[in-house]
């Protein structure tokens, strides 16, 4: 049984322009100790998926549609009482945010913020909480932790603050850590350090990691399995190696093709044409169709489900190209 099992998650937002289907039928599993990456462009529903898991979707305007299911450790998170949900948050499931500079309360010392979690979820007294907090800061690689414990967020650098965020997230030894673009706001050398830290801590504590990113490099380094999202849906899943070496979905192929390589100075970048359509008004049929160079009539007529790529593997892609029964396959004809 997987630790986290999301089934047919639909999170919709009511806006003036209509109902935005930000997450539209996402199903995924994260096993104990596993690292799952969610990758996709801005606005594809990655963050909303993560926030839905923690029950942090503001309502209104957000709403998780009936029929969705989020099971964590054999408990249906969409049905538990708010008090139970608060017990789970920060305790069994923790989350790290994208912007370390703004994710800490500016008027409290970082130590105070670590202490607060320890005292709330683990019931430690002030002295024990401080000792544990300092040990945590040391564990995430903050030099001089005893001194830094009393520092305010504005006195620390972004990389240091992200370490503090990780320390806070780990303080209650969660079984699942959700990291929402944990390295996006940091510079490249720090990114690598933070990723290394996350991976080593994950191994040490045996927790599952749900890593949200738009950076395929991060995915390559850290993840066991990858989920590629586009337009609020999963378009391809597989192991990291499979996805990176043999992408099936044109969107994944486009993502990989758009990566600049070192040494390709004279080669123009190869972006995916067009932009992500609005979540209020997804195109009929395949949502990637307008930007896809392989699209043919069938893509406009009906949207494919997640189709298995090879029989017997967990690999799947939401594209008619992988449909083995398809007689009108665009592979045979010319790409339009």
């Amino acid at each position: 049984m997987p630790l986290l099992e999301v089934t047919d998650l639909r999170t919709y937002f009511t806006t003036d322009a209509g109902v935005a289907r930000a997450v539209d039928g996402v199903s995924l599993q994260v096993g104990t100790g596993e690292t799952l990456g969610i990758v996709g462009e801005s606005g594809c529903g990655k963050t909303v998926t993560a926030l839905s898991v923690l029950g942090l979707i503001p309502s209104p305007p957000g709403e998780i549609v009936v029929g969705s299911s989020i099971r964590f450790n054999d408990e249906e998170l969409l049905e538990v009482k708010p008090a139970r949900l608060r017990e789970i948050r920060g305790n069994a499931i923790s989350m790290i945010f994208q912007e370390p500079m703004t994710s800490l309360n500016p008027v409290l010392t970082v130590g105070h913020q670590i202490e607060e979690v320890l005292r709330l979820h683990r019931g430690l007294n002030k002295r024990d909480a401080r000792a544990t907090g300092v040990a945590l800061l040391a564990e995430v690689g903050i030099p001089d932790p005893d001194q830094r414990f009393d520092a305010y967020p504005h006195q620390m650098s972004g990389g240091m603050l992200q370490r503090v965020m990780i320390a806070i997230a780990l303080s209650c030894e969660p079984r699942l850590l959700i990291a929402d673009e944990p390295t996006t706001a940091l510079d490249v050398t720090i990114q690598a350090q933070i990723l290394d830290l996350l991976v080593s801590l994950q191994r040490k504590h045996g927790m599952a990691l749900l890593l949200i990113t738009h950076d395929l490099g991060v995915i390559a380094e850290v993840c066991d399995r990858v989920v590629v999202m586009y337009g609020g849906q999963i378009v391809e899943t597989g192991t990291t190696e499979e996805i990176l070496t043999r992408p099936e979905h044109p969107y994944t192929q486009g993502l990989l093709a758009s990566l600049p390589g070192i040494g390709d100075r004279d080669v123009r970048l190869n972006p995916i044409p067009g932009t992500v359509p609005s979540a209020v008004d997804w195109p009929d049929g395949c949502r990637f169709r307008d930007r896809c160079s392989f699209a043919w009539e069938r893509c406009a007529e009906s949207a494919p489900d997640l189709l298995p790529v090879d029989a017997g593997s967990s690999r799947s892609a939401r594209c008619w190209l992988v449909d083995p029964d398809d007689s009108s396959s665009g592979l045979a004809g010319e790409p339009t």
Binding site: R86, T109, M165
Partner: protein
């Protein structure tokens, strides 16, 4: 002479020599002033301990003030010069910015001194505020001699009455603002954070309270209760002062609740109560402190207005507003009654406003360099 021995004799003086004239001047003036009171009123100081409560408080204030000024200065000079705490919080940054504003620091000194004088009034007042010297010989006496600021139409000493009146004005200002800030901050924060119908209800209620002419409301309430105890005045002023604070706090909270650290706090499983009290309100406090300080001046003026209209405290109790009102009829013969009590109001309100303005500048990071 070393700093320590200089500080033992004149606390605050070594700090003033080093350019820290604000804190240094404060402890030096407190030290010298209270020492002067102690020497001049030794008998009353001793008798104070066994006297009524306000005498006891006065004697206690003298001792505490002297010890405080001396102890702080000694502690300050004995501290190593380069001792930096590792945490420089919002408040120490604010204090640093505030100290650069000379006018505001003077405002703080005036406010502290007004409070000190109010507290030690029983020791220093030359006369009892309600005692009539002699209606035949000491009525409307001009300032000077036995009566430093003259006497009023009932031959009471104006100087003593102003000092006793300070206690009334300041405690009304302090407590009324305390009530209004508590209510305003809580309501504003809850309303801004929760939003939805709670927000609508609270804000419409605020609109309602604001739209009602305040002085008319005050007059109606005071007249309704037919008693003018100091507590009623405090409560009424406090309960009508909060809408401004509530609006300001709500505005701050509306932008705070979209900040990432509030989302992070929710992701950590904190309850709404904890988030509002421990994470939202401390971040919204800066404008609250400013409105509170400015509010004290506002409430003092309002109380004076009520007293002027005869709706303030019972007549023998000295209050600045009623003194201005008393002197109104004698302005041509005895200008000192209204003038000095009016000046007391002006001095206090201006001092509070200077502090408030200074705090506003110091708390605004955009103005900080």
């Amino acid at each position: 002479m070393t700093d320590a021995s200089l500080s033992a004799v004149l606390p605050g003086f070594p700090q003033m020599l080093k350019g820290r004239w604000g804190v240094g001047g404060m402890s030096l003036t407190v030290w010298l002033g209270l020492l002067g009171v102690l020497l001049n009123r030794w008998a009353r100081f001793g008798a104070g301990w066994g006297g009524p409560l306000d005498h006891q408080i006065a004697s206690l204030t003298v001792v505490a003030g002297l010890l405080g000024a001396w102890g702080w200065s000694m502690f300050d000079v004995s501290r190593p010069a380069e001792m930096e705490r590792s945490g420089i919080g919002q408040w120490s940054l604010t204090a640093r910015a505030f100290k650069k504003n000379r006018v505001a620091v003077i405002g703080v000194m005036v406010v502290v001194w007004i409070y000190l004088i109010a507290l030690i009034t029983p020791l220093i007042a030359p006369h009892d505020p309600a005692t009539q010297a002699s209606l035949l010989t000491a009525r409307l006496v001009a300032p000077g001699g036995e009566f430093p600021l003259g006497t009023d139409h009932l031959s009471r000493d104006v100087f003593s009455r102003i000092m006793y009146g300070a206690r009334i004005s300041l405690s009304i200002g302090f407590i009324a603002v305390g009530i209004s800030v508590t209510i305003g901050t809580l309501l504003g924060a809850v309303s801004g954070y929760l939003g939805g119908w709670v927000d609508t209800v609270v804000m419409r209620f605020v609109d309602m309270v604001i739209s009602f002419p305040r002085l008319v409301l005050l007059i109606a309430i005071v007249a309704l209760f037919e008693s003018n105890s100091i507590f009623l005045i405090m409560a009424v002023l406090g309960l009508t002062q909060w809408p401004g604070t509530a609006r300001i706090v709500r505005g701050e909270v509306l932008s705070l609740r979209e900040r990432e650290f509030i989302e992070a706090a929710r992701a950590l499983g904190f309850s709404r109560r904890r988030i509002i009290l421990r994470h939202v309100i401390p971040n919204a406090l800066a404008p609250v402190i400013v409105t509170a300080t400015l509010g004290v001046g506002n409430v003092i003026v309002l109380e004076a207005g009520l007293s002027f209209l005869g709706l303030g405290l019972q007549p023998p109790t000295p209050s600045w507003g009623s003194m201005v009102s008393d002197g109104r009829g004698y302005l041509l013969d005895a200008w000192w009654i209204s003038t000095f009590s009016g000046l007391a109001i002006v001095l206090t309100v201006v001092a509070f406003n200077l502090v408030g303005d200074g705090l506003r500048d110091a708390l605004d990071p955009r103005l900080r360099t």
